[in-house]
Symmetry: D3
Subunit: 161 residues, 6 copies
């Protein structure tokens, strides 16, 4: 096994990978995560959501805007002219799930953009519902699927049927 | 029970809570989270960590800087003149745990600053180790403890002994 | 009359006013503006607004977030720990009106925060409705009222009854 | 008529348009707006402008820098590698007019960049002259012309001769 | 001698100093630096400066805005509600000198704000004059004076008369 | 001699150069600078550096992140999709030297990105060591080499052998 950490040089220093020689291809990444909460908080968001939808609406905007800021937040990420980032939500038993999709025509993938969008969308839900439940737990933040680039299609192995 | 979502007005619109009438007190928040990964990725970070410590060193800086940016990321958060944000890491079985502490002398708490610092520190580890393991999962992001302000001390109930 | 431009020194150079000697008082500013558009665009926003409210919901979030960024956008503005910024909308004949309120306990006013929030909320409406009507016109952006600080209460003279 | 709001999906949620399939073409946008003010404020800016030009000089820099930040301010805007943004001013009867031109070789237009640059340039004039006249009114912010992309040349219909 | 690096904990990790227990006092910092350049570049800036002053005018704005961004740029710096930052320029033999003054009523000093403002003002001059002279050299960036806080007045020893 | 300041139009106003007609080529820039300090501060960084390397590790991250922010800091710089920015350090007699390399496949050079990365890396060292030595001096910040674009290879003349 001869892999090494791509973001650390031979002396162990952090470094940005030079993507100058990579080809521009269409790339896509899908990430997901969830926030578990009390029945009361979940109900408040669902009901508050009914008339104007602002908790999830606000979380969606926050997630998209954070996805566009990924290279400002994650030190070794490249600034990217992304084609799109979108965020959706679903209600689960005792939790809300956020799923983000990021797309680019570029030299490097958009996994971090999708995962960052999911994370900040969930943090925003936490912020807006914390008066109800300070004990909410954010989890299962992960990459679901990735397309494009040299390595082709990747899907989270344990999620494959 | 007569609570309502503090960040949503009576028409369901998102709103920022006016903290003008609140007293300035010393406040503290501790948050934590973890990233589960393959033995190979964990070993690479631990070994890469030995000589110069850059994966966790970079994640620490990213977490602190993101904590300072919380009000730019989370729409209804107030811009705060925080006293400090710090991030620490620990190795667990198949995972790395990040813990962040945020402190302020102010009118509103710093829970979101601590949770945001933890989240971005873990996202940075993901970014720097993803060449080894795209299937890493970030989870257990939560508030551990909160001090100061009208509500006094709060500790995550299921973590209390 | 012996006033001079407070942001320009005696040589004509731009300068930031030093607010170090000012007292901290509660201050409030209300600003307003409108975007005129075709009946078709207005109807689309109103209808699109019905189920989930996202055009105005997105514009509200954008306005609040921009208000928090005022000192990054306007060169001579001070970074401020604002107490709150909020944005509301109203439908008028052939137009949508945005009104923003900003509050602070501080040494300097929040007029620019309120006016910036209104401006960016209206720009966001333009962006989201421009597929319908590229000819929309944004106007009547102005300060409506200002309270606190040495100069006390100010109301736009032509709007007083 | 079968158009729909391009930034809202079929459920009414805000979304970013995916521009991945669009061709890169040369695109240009021109926007304009004005700030009406008292004769005294106008004279102060004109005179202050004479020796060093800093009110309008500062407003020009603020407008250009804000134009580059458009995708941070307007939630559904794409981050763009713009070719140029420039801002000019003209004195009118009781007002100053700002005009911005933005250019790109890309998949999406730069209308929002031009309109944002105009808006923030005018906000900066407001900030720097508000000691003279709190009652200034910003208006007539609009797109004047747009070139490039699938829809070709567009000019504001009521401004055409 | 028992001092230690205040920004590094006992394990060598970077940390933010907690300023929660410090008193709020009036603090001031003055920093300076210079950019050496060819006679041709210097003359172009001086002449270009004559009618509208935009090279130095732009550098002044850039320096002030960067000073306000210091805590975003320097990882361990606290976000501060500064009272003022200003930048001035002087022509020297074969060089332009920039001097910045920063002031705050707060718990921590504003040295970094002043030094950052100087640095970015000089970088902006480099950018705007590099067509003339790519070989310009920026140097002598340093703290000149510091007032307020526990340590009182400090002046650069070798600059004292 | 018929050159003029490329960032100033014929009336002396600041302007962004339109790069729309330029070809995309591979471009590289190398910049360098140093911070002189007392033997005590140098020793503390070197020793503090031994176990975990955080002073220079933090400065490296700060430099890279600032390089990515160049177009936000320098008013007339274009937002660029850089391929890489990296920063290295070397110990000299009474000083630490920082060297940054920036690369892009684009229409305009990355000199400013490299010089900005060097400057902010050195400012970060100042911040983290200032408890030891407030009299540190940053200097010799300059472009060392530039490749690509119409003007081909440039090397600092006085550094050529």
């Amino acid at each position: 096994m001869n892999k090494s950490l791509t973001h650390v040089d031979s002396d162990g220093n952090a470094r940005m990978v030079d993507v100058g020689a990579k080809a521009e291809t269409q790339r896509l990444a899908i990430a997901s995560g969830r926030i578990a909460m009390s029945a009361q908080a979940l109900e408040a968001i669902r009901a508050g959501n009914a008339p104007k939808g602002d908790v999830l609406g606000t979380a969606r905007i926050a997630g998209i805007m954070a996805g566009k800021k990924t290279s400002e937040l994650i030190p070794m990420c490249h600034p990217l002219a992304i084609d799109a980032i979108n965020v959706d939500f679903g209600f689960e038993e005792g939790a809300i799930r956020a799923t983000a999709t990021a797309a680019i025509t570029g030299k490097t993938g958009v996994e971090m953009e999708a995962i960052t969008a999911v994370s900040v969308a969930l943090l925003t839900i936490y912020d807006m519902a914390k008066a109800f439940d300070k004990g909410m737990v954010i989890g299962e933040i992960r990459l679901i699927e990735k397309r494009g680039g040299k390595s082709g299609v990747w899907r989270a192995p344990d999620l494959e049927r």
